[in-house]
């Protein structure tokens, strides 16, 4: 059956609430409206206003109260309406959600999931297309997840909700309508397991979230050039599956890491550094990074020039191969 990422996520939320009545859901417009992307559609109808409810317009408030509810014993799943509106909650996420289990010497656990529709490519106005994953990846105590397919969307979100550790769950909003033949419920590999989405020998493309599809499209396009690209989907940025990544790069000798966020100090730097540390002698060229330019996310009409696409990736592959 063909399902979309949005359906997979909605079903995952539904099934998690069904399975465990400690799971509660809140955020701006997630109740009556079902979320601006309808990812929480029908959940309030099904589970009532007590388990799925709208909040006042205050992101720090949302994350802060989620922490308190988790201390009480609930498993809150909260939505930040858009990537760019996660920032008001930064302090609660960094100073408390990430640290409290450690601070408390394990006496407090915070099984909270912060869902963030993220990334660009949908022609949105500013602050609606950000890729803030690097910020949160740099915060010990958080797990960072970003699915690239509907099956992973379902499975990783279920795992995130079941996780005893706090999870920042980055939903690739431009892939909400991405389809896949899959039967729900579906169980894919656990956190910390990257997956080779396409076998290849020429070079490795490393991607996550919205860029997985782009990487696969690029691999297809690369066939014309006679290149056989391997595509690795990281799935979880933390934990980071160095093993799968290194195995692929050891095979191909070339690596290009891709994300939408600006390249400078982005997560790609971490991937590049890890590969270089762990597979130095396997590398025939430096790991190249492809991403957005080091400028603010631009206006909709210009985002195509900002965002990495097949051409920019192929250009990097070529530079790598001819290094």
């Amino acid at each position: 059956m063909a399902i979309t990422m949005a359906q997979a996520l909605n079903t995952a939320l539904h099934d998690a609430m069904e399975a465990d009545d400690k799971v509660v859901m809140f955020g701006e417009d997630v109740g009556t409206l079902g979320g601006v992307f309808r990812i929480t559609d029908k959940l309030q109808e099904r589970f009532g206003e007590k388990r799925c409810f709208d909040t006042p317009l205050a992101e720090s408030g949302i994350v802060g109260t989620a922490i308190g509810m988790a201390m009480y014993g609930y498993k809150p799943v909260v939505e930040m309406q858009f990537d760019g509106f996660t920032y008001p909650a930064f302090e609660q996420i960094v100073s408390h959600l990430a640290k409290m289990p450690n601070r408390s010497r394990g006496t407090v656990q915070l099984p909270v999931v912060v869902r963030i529709p993220y990334g660009g490519g949908i022609g949105a106005v500013e602050h609606h297309s950000e890729s803030p994953e690097a910020f949160f990846s740099h915060v010990a105590g958080l797990k960072i997840v970003s699915p690239g397919t509907p099956s992973d969307g379902y499975s990783l979100l279920r795992r995130a909700i079941d996780s005893p550790d706090p999870v920042i769950f980055f939903e690739p909003k431009r892939r909400y309508w991405l389809k896949e033949d899959a039967e729900l419920p579906v169980t894919t590999e656990p956190f910390g397991t990257a997956v080779v989405r396409r076998q290849g020998t020429t070079a490795t493309l490393l991607a996550y979230g919205p860029m997985v599809r782009t990487a696969l499209d690029t691999a297809k396009a690369a066939e014309e050039e006679g290149w056989d690209l391997e595509v690795v989907d990281l799935r979880t940025l933390n934990p980071f599956d160095a093993k799968t990544v290194v195995a692929s790069v050891a095979k191909t000798g070339h690596a290009v890491v891709i994300h939408e966020a600006q390249v400078f100090a982005g997560f790609g730097a971490e991937v590049a550094a890890q590969i270089t540390e762990r597979a130095f002698y396997d590398l025939e060229a430096p790991v190249l990074r492809v991403g957005g330019f080091d400028v603010p996310y631009p206006a909709a009409k210009l985002e195509e020039f900002f965002l990495p696409d097949t051409d920019r990736i192929l250009d990097a592959v070529e530079r790598s191969l001819s290094f």
Binding site: P56, V295, A299
Partner: protein
């Protein structure tokens, strides 16, 4: 106890529950003590003119979005009186710090609507020069602009300038920490600032009753030791008169205040929204009966301030505006992609040369 109250009588801070209304639903003028109307005939006509223009410009915005010319658009339909009345209370040297729904206020400040729409088209992130019209950048992150307004007002005060800043935001915005910090800073520094809340009853789908348990939004002023006012935001005269009072207060060095203009968003939150999911046709009809323009029209007609010539003149002006907007927006090409690297820094890093070269190569390869 030494901890004496910080202001003489807090009871005086308690806003009146009854919103100031000067024009009733039937367009009849009732004077209200403390809110004298200092308007000339020309002003009455101008207020009307701006409201009609705002509605027309707004309609054009929606249409352009429907025609695929804008990515999204946030309508002000129903809020014309609140927006225009508020901004009309300002003098030329004063400033407005808007959210994203303030096309009406923009018009009053003389901002070209076509420029405002470029944000929604996605040509650039903002296209007007705030310094030219004293109308700040549209601000999407909720409530954040209120702090910019306060800082600007603090600057003006420090500089000894006669200048008042008006910050618009919504009912939902009052829940954000930034709204709180802005009002507190303004009060502490006696900043010449007016917080103008258009209470249009919803934050997307969330009604005011789920946003706060405050008796009214105006009551939030008490916690900052500043006056809070309520006005019928569908009555342009009340909106003006109350704003005028707050502006004059700020101008006289008496500090900030908060205005709750009670109104209603008649359209969807933005063109991307489906309001039938969260509100009823009855509610809509109820508010439709309080249309801000119709009411004012009745009044002006009775007063003999609205003749066919003036209507025709506004109509022409509205048409011209709309035509110009279409012209400016319709298939407006995006600018030079290489401008991505402009304006980020006055002194850009060396790495921009490499990145610009990459983009140039990509553009040439197309």
């Amino acid at each position: 106890m030494a901890a004496a109250p910080l202001t003489p009588d807090p009871a005086t801070l308690l806003p009146s529950l009854e919103p100031v209304q000067l024009l009733d639903n039937q367009g009849v003028l009732h004077e209200v003590d403390g809110y004298p109307l200092d308007l000339k005939d020309e002003d009455f006509r101008n207020l009307y003119r701006f409201m009609v223009l705002a509605r027309r410009v707004d309609k054009q915005g929606i249409n352009l979005q429907r025609q695929g010319q804008l990515g999204v658009y946030a309508s002000l339909l129903g809020q014309e009186a609140a927006q225009v009345g508020g901004a009309y209370a300002l003098d030329e040297q004063d400033w407005v710090f808007p959210s994203y729904r303030e096309m009406g206020a923009a018009l009053v400040r003389g901002v070209d609507p076509g420029k405002i729409l470029q944000l929604f088209r996605g040509t650039w992130l903002s296209d007007h020069d705030p310094h030219a019209t004293h109308f700040g950048l549209l601000s999407i992150p909720i409530a954040t602009q209120a702090l910019h307004a306060v800082g600007f007002a603090m600057g003006a005060k420090l500089d000894g300038k006669d200048l008042v800043v008006m910050s618009y935001f919504g009912d939902g915005a009052t829940s954000e920490g930034d709204a709180h910090e802005a009002m507190n800073f303004a009060a502490v520094y006696d900043a010449p600032c007016v917080f103008y809340v258009q209470n249009n009853q919803y934050a997307i789908s969330v009604p005011l009753s789920k946003q706060t348990k405050a008796p009214t939004i105006a009551h939030k002023a008490v916690g900052y030791g500043m006056p809070g006012y309520r006005c019928d935001g569908n009555d342009v005269l009340a909106s003006y008169a109350v704003a005028k009072q707050a502006v004059e207060r700020a101008r006289a060095g008496e500090g900030p205040s908060l205005i709750e203009a009670i109104t209603y968003r008649m359209e969807a939150h933005t063109t991307a929204d489906d309001p039938t999911r969260y509100r009823t046709a009855e509610e809509l009809a109820e508010w439709n009966a309080r249309d801000p323009i119709a009411r004012f029209e009745t009044f002006l007609t009775k007063e003999g301030l609205l003749d066919d010539a003036f209507r025709a003149q506004i109509d022409d002006e509205a048409k011209a505006y709309a035509a110009r907007m279409r012209e400016e927006i319709y298939d407006a090409p995006h600018g030079d992609p290489l401008e991505l690297f402009e304006h980020v820094y006055v002194e850009p890093p060396a790495s921009y040369d490499e990145q610009r070269a990459l983009l140039r190569r990509e553009l040439e390869a197309q």
